[in-house]
């Protein structure tokens, strides 16, 4: 769901889902505050954070719902998916178990979320690639079979975190633009510079 706000031109809600310990909270803190904490506390229920971005001349507020990964919370999480404009499904490239759960998370979002909600599959902890258990080709094949985009990130090194969110937001804008032609002019997507934060964005290759 994309809502129009007085202060912002658009407000969108994104959800971060995936098994416990895959790094969802750190992807969020990296994206919204440029922080990484190896000892962040366990998410119980849901946490929220926002970031404002600029798309063309429009100001957009992204509100991100960072959800608990433990399976038993799923009994109470349908409210989290309601109204989400997009989702990042996260797994840990060093944990085959977390990759095996992706199918269930996908089912969860497709069942409780809005139909056709854009989803990006994220393989996190790229910095630990020497411990990799999920080959890129396996993840890519899965993404392809399920019509998802796939990206690998490292919240620790601040690699591709920006791109992962950017990727999802672009998808959302594109699908939204098809309905509302007036914001088509907004593409291409440019993100506002955060002069208060000094970080270098990694270049990406889109193949």
């Amino acid at each position: 769901m994309v809502t129009i706000d007085e202060e912002f031109d658009m407000v969108i809600k994104l959800v971060l889902i995936g098994d416990t310990g895959v790094g969802k909270s750190n992807l969020l803190s990296r994206y919204t505050r440029d922080e990484f904490n190896s000892e962040s506390k366990t998410t119980i229920g849901v946490d929220f954070a926002t970031r404002t971005i600029q798309i063309g001349k429009k100001k957009m507020k992204t509100q991100i719902w960072d959800t608990a990964g433990q399976e038993r919370y799923r009994a109470m999480t349908n409210a989290y998916y309601r109204g989400a404009a997009g989702a990042l499904i996260v797994f840990d490239i060093c944990s085959l178990n977390s990759f095996d759960s992706i199918g269930r998370w996908l089912q969860e979002i497709r069942e409780y979320g809005d139909p056709g909600v854009p989803i990006v599959l994220v393989g996190n902890k790229f910095d630990l690639k020497h411990l990799r258990q999920v080959p890129i080709s396996t993840a890519e094949l899965f993404a392809h079979e399920n019509s998802l985009k796939y990206i690998e990130t490292s919240a620790l090194l601040n690699s591709n975190v920006e791109s992962a969110f950017q990727f999802l937001i672009t998808e959302i804008i594109n699908s939204f633009s098809q309905v509302h032609k007036d914001i088509q002019e907004c593409t291409p997507l440019t993100f506002e510079d955060r002069s208060d934060l000094s970080f270098r964005r990694k270049c990406c290759v889109i193949n």
Partner: protein, 363 residues
């Protein structure tokens, strides 16, 4: 690093503001509790009102661990089962679900990271021992992540074995069905909260309904962690003191109080759930200080009988909801299966253009 008297870094969310009870008053309270411990059965059976009032006033810090063990009667279980705790710790690898044990290990350094006890290897190992023993005690119940901050709170007040038995009482008698698969009782309590709120804050309740705000989004962490991740620690301990005597009704009163204190007059500033939920997480010291929250809790007239009556209604409602979910789920699976069959039959037509992938440029 400077910490408060509970070992929390001063900048952390749980850090407590100073709230000193005069020394002589504290000594008096301690001697009253010591007197009660000597004749605990007598006080519990004949003077339980006195215990209730003293829990409401706050248990002196030096005696809190013992008081919680007495209030929950876990000390009896502990006496009746000598050695069981250590046996469970030793055999956890064989008995407990391996997924639970690995989840426990993952959570050790994520439980109160801002507290010096658990920033330390020794503190984490105690936490691991208690949680693994709990996962082994009832493998079918297993480990729920919210158990970790509660056990950590207990460990700040008592040895590992005692913490284990208090937690057993909480899981089995205080909050049964709260942490086990399906979280049934937790859902029931969230439903009860939703039914109680209109009688205490009708406008807030109506506003939440109109914007589609669901109490469980906020209540899950509050209830499951006994507020120990929500309130300054000294205030959370006061809520837990009351909980140990009164049971879950204490959590209900605390949740109603926080909601009303936070939103009672300012709810209309938040016109969407996207604004409302995060605002509910930002609780200022003017609300969460024990000198504000605890008296407010007792100004709310919530009756045990009323809760019991609502319990039946909400249990029924949750059961219906679960049945509806199960039905929807099986229909969804069936649709998926049919869809898959269709796609298999048209296999040749798909899969020519791979979905784009972003890779690190240095790969």
């Amino acid at each position: 690093m400077s910490t408060d008297r509970f070992g929390f870094e001063l900048e952390s969310e749980q850090a407590s503001y100073s709230f000193c009870i005069p020394h002589n008053k504290l000594r008096k309270r301690e001697s009253k509790w010591l007197k009660m411990f000597d004749k605990w059965d007598y006080y519990m059976s004949k003077k339980s009102d006195l215990i209730r009032v003293r829990c409401q006033k706050g248990i002196p810090y030096s005696l809190r661990g013992k008081a919680w063990r007495y209030l929950t009667h876990s000390y009896i279980l502990e006496e009746q089962h000598p050695g069981l705790f250590n046996d469970l710790v030793r055999q956890a690898d064989k008995i407990a679900n391996p997924n639970d044990l690995s989840a426990i290990i993952k959570d050790l350094h994520r439980t109160f990271p801002a507290n010096e006890t658990f920033a330390d290897e020794k503190g984490r190992d105690e936490l691991r021992r208690v949680l693994s023993a709990l996962a082994a005690y009832k493998p079918e119940h297993g480990y729920c992540q919210a158990m970790s901050p509660i056990v950590a709170t207990l460990l700040m007040h008592m040895p590992a074995e005692s913490a284990f038995w208090v937690m057993v009482r909480i899981l089995e008698d205080y909050l049964p069905g709260y942490f086990s698969d399906g979280l049934f009782s937790l859902q029931v309590d969230c439903e009860i909260f939703g039914m109680l709120l209109p009688s205490f804050a009708p406008r807030l309740a109506a506003h939440m309904k109109s914007i589609g705000a669901v109490p469980s989004v906020i209540l899950l962490e509050w209830f499951m962690c006994l507020f120990c991740r929500t309130l300054p620690f000294s205030c959370a301990l006061r809520v837990i003191d009351i909980f140990m005597y009164e049971g879950p009704i204490a959590l209900m009163k605390a949740a109603l109080s926080l909601s009303i204190l936070k939103m009672g007059s300012s709810y209309d500033k938040y016109s969407t759930v996207n604004e409302f939920y995060p605002a509910m997480r930002e609780l200022s010291p003017e609300i969460t200080h024990e000198s504000v929250l605890i008296p407010y809790m007792f100004s709310l007239k919530v009756k045990q009988k009323q809760i019991e009556r609502l319990h039946l209604v909400s249990e029924e409602r949750i059961k219906q909801e679960q049945a509806a979910t199960a039905k929807r789920r099986s229909e969804y699976k069936q649709r998926q299966a049919e869809h898959n069959l269709l796609s298999v039959s048209s296999e040749g037509s798909r899969g020519s253009t791979p979905s784009p992938t972003i890779r690190l440029s240095n790969e």
